[in-house]
Symmetry: C2
Subunit: 168 residues, 2 copies
């Protein structure tokens, strides 16, 4: 929490602050995705969560690359938004109930996490453009595309699971 | 937190749980939006935050209408996701720095809140369809459209503010 009160004098300060927020968010997800995977039952959902863990590692490396280029530390901020979303996800995943309904609840929690990241990466991608850091913008756009794709995949799986949950 | 461990036996249970999550999220926003508005400087942003407060009141009424029809209480769940997002927003809004950069930070926080709601309302709208509750689905779609519109409005304002923040 060392940088909680970092002053925001320029768009570059805000860019760094937001990147640190996303770096912490991704690292929280690396811990949370295996827990959600363990609670999930549907094979498609389990595969999607496992695959998204691999993608998350790549996204973390991209952020580390940007921080290295900027000669800044990637740590220093706790992502409170992702912390709350994961807390909700863990709560849903640990409930008693019908397995297909729990799967639907896990998807709903995972989509909240994806949307948090879509908002976050959408913002830093625009900042990178404005700061004329074309290389960073391209890397951040790549992650943004992956987050949107993950949200779409979860939607597709949800359609199957929700139909089965309706019958529960 | 009375229903934190409510069992999820059917899609209807999950529907109610998710609606309660959104009800708490909207009520948290009613408290938070005036604080963000007070910290904002840009007149367009201040207007957008004020207008979204009015919209939020209407969205709360819609949820109350659905709960009333279902003969269920709207309360009983703390929305941890929105709590974390608002905590971040309050932190950003209270920083020292250039006013246009603070405005950009407030927009970024508000867009995270919008995206949380886009994910949440998108989910319950689909559940309402699956549960063949056409009337609820229409109300939830209305709110979903408003959240998407609010996100778009914030994007438009961000374009002006970020250009000014770049010069800071």
């Amino acid at each position: 929490m060392a940088l909680l009160s970092m002053s925001l004098e320029s768009l570059n300060d805000l860019f760094i602050d937001e990147l640190r927020d996303l770096y912490d968010a991704e690292n929280q997800l690396v811990d949370a995705l295996p827990r959600l995977n363990e609670s999930a039952t549907n094979p498609l959902l389990k595969t999607a969560l496992r695959e998204h863990l691999d993608v998350t590692y790549k996204q973390i490396l991209r952020l580390e690359h940007i921080f290295q280029k900027m000669d800044k530390s990637p740590t220093g901020k706790d992502c409170e938004g992702m912390k709350g979303i994961i807390k909700e996800g863990d709560d849903m995943a640990s409930r008693d109930g019908d397995p297909s309904v729990i799967d639907a609840a896990i998807i709903s929690a995972a989509q909240r996490a994806e949307h948090y990241e879509i908002a976050g990466y959408g913002t830093v991608r625009v900042y990178a453009d404005l700061l004329e850091c074309k290389g960073y913008a391209e890397l951040l756009q790549k992650t943004l595309d992956e987050e949107k794709e993950a949200d779409k995949t979860l939607n597709d799986i949800a359609n199957t699971i929700q139909i089965s949950a309706r019958a529960a």
